[in-house]
């Protein structure tokens, strides 16, 4: 991730010279609605390790997040945002207390697929997957305690993974922010930016594209030293 962030920053720096169009494709201001199918990401996802989930767990989770926020005529979804990658990473950190719930919950989803359809959850048709997820959401799935709570947890984390700052491994390529029209992190906002009907361009910036919030400034710049202790 660190490498990716650095390359993004470099890309943006370069964009300042060669023009924003190099980074923000024309027409990216609003996601296509209905009439235009979105173009899938050009590059296949980079090779990603399974950081905390098992391979089977990861397959189930990838399939779940894809149904929660599907890729469709309204644009890319949780899959393209890499929401499952966000969750896998966070399970070793801020969401570590949820790791046992994921172990139990993902196994229960897989078990439900096997017992009702005789297939892995990832290999079911979308409508079959939705049926299982709906039974978890309603808490009606047989023999699984806490199914509804698990569903709510995964939904909340999928929203985080789709719409969070890309630093955390989700909202890849800012697809989540573009989907809902969030123009990106700015540290200065003008009165004009807050008008009704203002067309604020997507800037494709993470909080950590601003150096003052990173470790890099500590050794060099005066901003960090200019604190209230002075």
């Amino acid at each position: 991730m660190m490498l990716k962030l650095i390359s993004r920053r470099e890309l943006l720096k370069r964009a300042g010279v060669i023009g924003a169009a190099a980074v923000v494709p024309a027409g990216a201001r609003h996601p296509p609605h209905g009439d235009v199918a979105f173009a899938p990401p050009q590059a296949a996802p980079a090779r990603e390790p399974l950081e905390h989930l098992t391979a089977t767990e990861s397959d189930v989770l990838e399939a779940i997040v894809e149904r929660l926020i599907p890729s469709d005529a309204h644009g890319p979804g949780a899959k393209e945002a890499r929401a499952a990658r966000y969750i896998d990473r966070a399970l070793g950190g801020a969401l570590a207390s949820s790791r046992p719930l994921y172990a139990a919950g993902l196994a229960a989803v897989e078990q439900a697929a096997q017992s009702s359809r005789g297939k892995a959850f990832k290999d079911l048709r979308p409508d079959e997957q939705d049926e299982i997820l709906s039974s978890f959401e309603a808490g009606t799935v047989q023999g699984v305690a806490g199914a509804a709570a698990f569903f709510a947890l995964v939904r909340a984390h999928t929203l985080q993974g789709t719409f969070c700052d890309p630093y955390y491994g989700g909202n890849a390529g800012f697809v989540g922010w573009e989907l809902i029209g969030y123009p990106g992190v700015r540290t200065l906002v003008t009165p004009d930016d807050q008008r009704l009907g203002a067309d604020v361009p997507f800037n494709h910036k993470s909080a950590y594209d601003y150096e003052m919030f990173t470790k890099t400034i500590a050794s060099a710049a005066p901003l960090g030293a200019m604190t209230h202790g002075d």
Binding site: P31, H33, R67, L68, I69, P70, D72, H74, G75, G77, A94, D130, L133, S134, E137, R155, A156, L159, Q160, T162, F163, C164, D165, Y167, Y168, N171, G176, W177, L179, I180, G181, Y182, P183, V185, R186, T187, L188, V189, P191, D193, Q194, R195, L196, G197, A198, V200, A207, Y208, Y210, M212, F213, I217, L223, G224, T227, H228, G229, D230
Partner: protein
């Protein structure tokens, strides 16, 4: 064995919104002050515009002393405990929660100081709700006005005055009490949406105005103006435009050379002598124990921790906790009725992605006693507030106002794609009264990692609060509809759990039988122990408490500086 430190004139427990203010008049008067703060110094670089970190992972509230001692909560003395919060509503750091609060900086309405006498005079004493222990404050608004003024200048408050020495200005709050001069800064600007809401309020005959905020609307005392970047809600300021005490009164107090700031100091006891006077405090830093002798002790942590520290500080003169020989510590507790919100869906984008919770439009027509209560069956009211504050995860988590069958899948996704920027949620602060049955004490079972019992809340909203909530929801819906909302949703009143607006527990008043501290904020029992914070407030008003708590802290500190030899324990 505690390391005994050199005696100081005053020790302040907690350098947050109120302790950080009190330090300034004390040190300027020439007193030596030690400020003990459980948290650390944070700087602009710590305040990244990062929703996940600020609003979902509880940074900077996480990994704090406060999180080891989250209060427990039950509705009544006979009901089961409710689920405990995962994160304490407040934080520890130099500046405390003033680092990341909304910074709405209101003066109370004069009625809030005289709820009992004014209600009795206008409507009869039968209108005081049964079971309420509400009293008039020991003084009125005019006593606090000079201190409101001092704090507004020192922390830097922006706003539009509605009443300067009796002259009404309709650009401000026409219901506010007289102030001696304009705000130090003009109000924060409006947005397209909040201006539209103001216009809608005027069509209803109401009196909208921009709210007051401890946020710079222009360069002020060498601090930058607000950048309106959208991460102010539980986020600190990256340009120090928010008037946290960490960037205002505390550095000014340090500049006197008389304030010693000790960080990561976890105070475990207020120490007393055989005569019942405070002798100082005991605290831990990374497991090492220190005793800080002081001639005066001011406790300035949050309401829950003020009460808890007193109840934990048991001694021979105070077997039931410090200053609790009248059994009043923890009593008259209430938290602000901010639940029962109202949300709206508009048929156009509101463009609320940027801004801050303090950037908005207020309506005070239905607050306090600003309208005739003869025809309603409650006293008090609510302040209506709409503001510009939206972040992506929260926006995607919006209600669908019943317009989709599911909260996931393609139909739901189409809704949020179209409507993420078309919703608004109002902030409705409503009068809340103290009641006999609502109180704080120590949880008999739940302890912090050091083995000290945590604070327990026993409280629920009563009839008066519920009636106000319903009344104010009607008004808010009317306002949203007038602005063109196509759907409106109401939230329930809900439980009265740990809150950022917690009052009482060490109430201020002349009668020691019903109040812990006197009219100056000093204990009726331990005369050199002062209490700072909203824990001394006996009524809430319909607006954020911080400025009032800060004005009271300044007043207590100034009184102490003027009467130091009379109040202080003799030098040891």
């Amino acid at each position: 064995m505690a390391t005994r430190l050199k005696e100081t004139d005053v020790v302040i427990v907690g350098l947050g919104a109120v302790g950080g203010v009190a330090a300034l008049p004390l040190t300027q008067a020439g007193l030596d002050v030690v400020g003990l703060e459980a948290g650390a110094w944070l700087t602009k670089r710590d305040f990244a515009p990062d929703e996940l970190r600020n609003n979902y992972r509880g940074w900077p509230q996480s990994a704090q002393k406060a999180n080891q001692e989250i209060p427990t909560h039950r509705a009544t003395a006979s009901s089961a405990p409710l689920p405990r919060l995962a994160i304490h509503p407040m934080m520890n750091a130099v500046g405390g929660t003033s680092l990341h609060y909304w910074a709405q900086s209101w003066r109370l309405n004069p009625w809030d100081f005289k709820v009992v006498s004014e209600t009795t005079r206008r409507y009869g004493s039968s209108r005081i709700p049964g079971g309420s222990t509400v009293e008039d404050w020991p003084f009125g608004y005019e006593e606090l006005e000079p201190y409101y003024d001092k704090v507004e200048v020192e922390v830097g408050v922006s706003g539009a005055a509605g009443n300067v020495n009796g002259t009404i200005d309709r650009r401000g709050n026409v219901f506010e009490a007289p102030r001696r001069r304009e705000f130090p800064m003009p109000p924060l600007r409006g947005t397209g949406f909040t201006d539209l809401m103001a216009a809608a309020a005027r069509t209803l005959g109401w009196h909208p105005f921009p709210g007051p905020a401890a946020i710079n609307s222009r360069l002020y005392q060498s601090r930058a103006a607000c950048m309106y970047h959208g991460f102010c809600n539980r986020g600190g300021c990256h340009v120090d435009a928010k008037g946290s005490t960490a960037v205002t009164t505390i550095p000014k107090a340090q500049a006197t050379g008389r304030l010693k700031v000790v960080t990561r100091a976890h105070v475990t006891n207020v120490d007393v002598d055989g005569d019942g006077r405070a002798t100082g405090v005991t605290y831990l830093v990374d497991g090492a124990e220190f005793q800080q002798p002081a001639r005066v002790v001011l406790i300035a942590s949050y309401t829950y921790e003020n009460v808890r520290l007193l109840l934990l500080s048991k001694s021979k003169p105070y077997p039931n906790g410090l200053s609790n020989n009248h059994g009043q510590v923890g009593k008259h507790y209430f938290s602000h009725n901010q639940t029962a919100g109202v949300s709206a869906l508009f048929p156009w984008n509101t463009n609320s992605w940027y801004g801050l919770p303090a950037q908005g439009t207020a309506v005070d027509d239905w607050a306090d006693d600003n309208f005739d209560h003869a025809g309603v069956d409650f006293i008090g009211g609510g302040n209506l507030w709409v503001y510009s504050d939206r972040r992506p995860i929260a926006a995607a988590s919006t209600s669908t106002f019943g317009r989709t069958a599911k909260s996931w899948g393609s139909e739901w996704k189409a809704f949020i794609t179209d409507n993420a920027d078309r919703t608004n949620t109002s902030y409705l602060q409503k009068t809340t009264l103290p009641y006999e049955a609502n109180y704080l004490d120590l949880d008999p079972v739940v302890k912090d990692p050091l083995g000290f019992n945590v604070c327990r809340i026993t409280a629920e909203y009563k009839e008066n609060e519920r009636k106000i909530a319903a009344f104010i929801q009607d008004k808010m819906e009317q306002w949203y509809r007038a602005a063109g909302a196509i759907a409106v949703e109401r939230a329930p009143v809900g439980p009265m759990g740990p809150s950022t607006h917690a009052y009482g527990g060490t109430r201020m008043g002349d009668d020691p039988a019903t109040n812990v501290v006197d009219r100056w904020g000093f204990s009726h029992e331990a005369p050199n122990l002062g209490v700072l914070g909203a824990s001394v407030m006996g009524t809430s008003g319909a607006r954020n408490p911080t400025l009032t708590a800060q004005a009271l802290a300044w007043r207590t500190a100034e009184h102490l500086a003027k009467s130091f030899n009379a109040i202080a324990r003799r030098r040891t």
